[in-house]
Assembly symmetry: C2
Homo-oligomer: 205 residues x 2
């Protein structure tokens, strides 16, 4: 009997993980409104009692899933970064990678939380600071990947613009597959970004 | 007795208008999930019977409100366009105007519908084509305002990138007032766009 040999702590961790994975899946499939604690416990194969013990309310569950999502987003990005080429084509590789990242199911689940948090104060309290932290980390990573100097005028704003652009493309992708259009746009943006980051401010006017 | 002199057709138009205005307001204040037909009829001051006669279901109401929103979005943009300066500073004025447009309550209501439509097939059927049409019209208007030639390589993609950027900024603005950051980013974007649109493709490499 293997089960009895698994320490309690490990079984708790696995159960919580299954509940949060199920929550993220349901957010993607059915949206925030369609995600209920009953569906989550069914999907996770966890009893209602155990679920209620770990996450007494829907918001508890969803807030835990946000943190879980944040961790997924972080490791997704790091894995993608490891595959990037060095040298020529680097800028395009970085922006295409960011574009794909913001078009993934992880972005969709985050979008559901983000929009729900707009009109739910208790959710807002948890999602707001998390999104700020993730935003700062993504910004720092992008600066590092592009190898640019943020103390130069305009550089910080162009990096922020790149991240807001991929967020907008991510949103456009939620109503239908937008991958071809996205890739064309990001190819052109990478070219423009390379030119702008090489041109000292003022010389272009 | 003025009321009895108002033609039936006009009273119907006003009632429908009030129901749709109330729907848009509630989408902004409470989100898609928090918008109920009961709240709409209370807010609009229209009897439940009359409301159900015009819009039998929540989706009927919300889909009508989407078309209504589209019309509001169109006239908002046209009014903003009329205030734009000619000549120098035009590009920045255009992108800042688009930025403000996508940070308005009208964008927020559209975002609620957009996200709800992702997981609601009947809503998706109505919202998808509308968003495509609005997207095409906004694209055409932006081309015209910037006075650029879409047949030149890269121009179409940079205009699309500008619209996806302001959509991303609009989304960022829903969790808190992001106006200062947005204006800084768009100032830099306008500068970059001016430089890129004046540089023939290939010369920049």
């Amino acid at each position: 009997m293997t089960t009895t040999r698994v320490p309690q702590e490990e079984r708790t961790r696995v159960m919580r993980q299954r509940l949060m994975d199920a929550t993220v899946e349901l957010l993607v499939e059915r949206g925030f409104g369609g995600t209920t604690t009953t569906l989550v416990s069914e999907r996770a194969g966890v009893s209602r009692g155990a679920q209620l013990h770990h996450f007494p309310t829907k918001n508890d569950l969803v807030v835990a899933a946000v943190s879980h999502l944040t961790a997924i987003r972080g490791s997704d990005l790091e894995a993608a970064v490891a595959r990037l080429p060095q040298g020529q084509g680097r800028t395009e590789a970085v922006v295409q990678m960011l574009g794909e990242h913001f078009a993934s199911p992880v972005f969709t689940a985050a979008l559901e939380l983000w929009v729900a948090a707009r009109t739910d104060p208790s959710l807002h309290e948890a999602v707001g600071p998390l999104e700020q932290r993730v935003g700062r980390e993504t910004h720092r990573l992008t600066i590092e990947l592009l190898g640019v100097d943020e103390s130069q005028p305009g550089v910080r704003e162009l990096v922020q613009a790149t991240l807001d652009l991929v967020r907008g493309l991510g949103l456009a992708n939620t109503l239908g597959d937008d991958a071809r259009r996205r890739r064309r746009i990001l190819t052109e943006w990478a070219r423009t970004l390379d030119a702008a980051l090489r041109t000292p401010e003022g010389d272009e006017a």
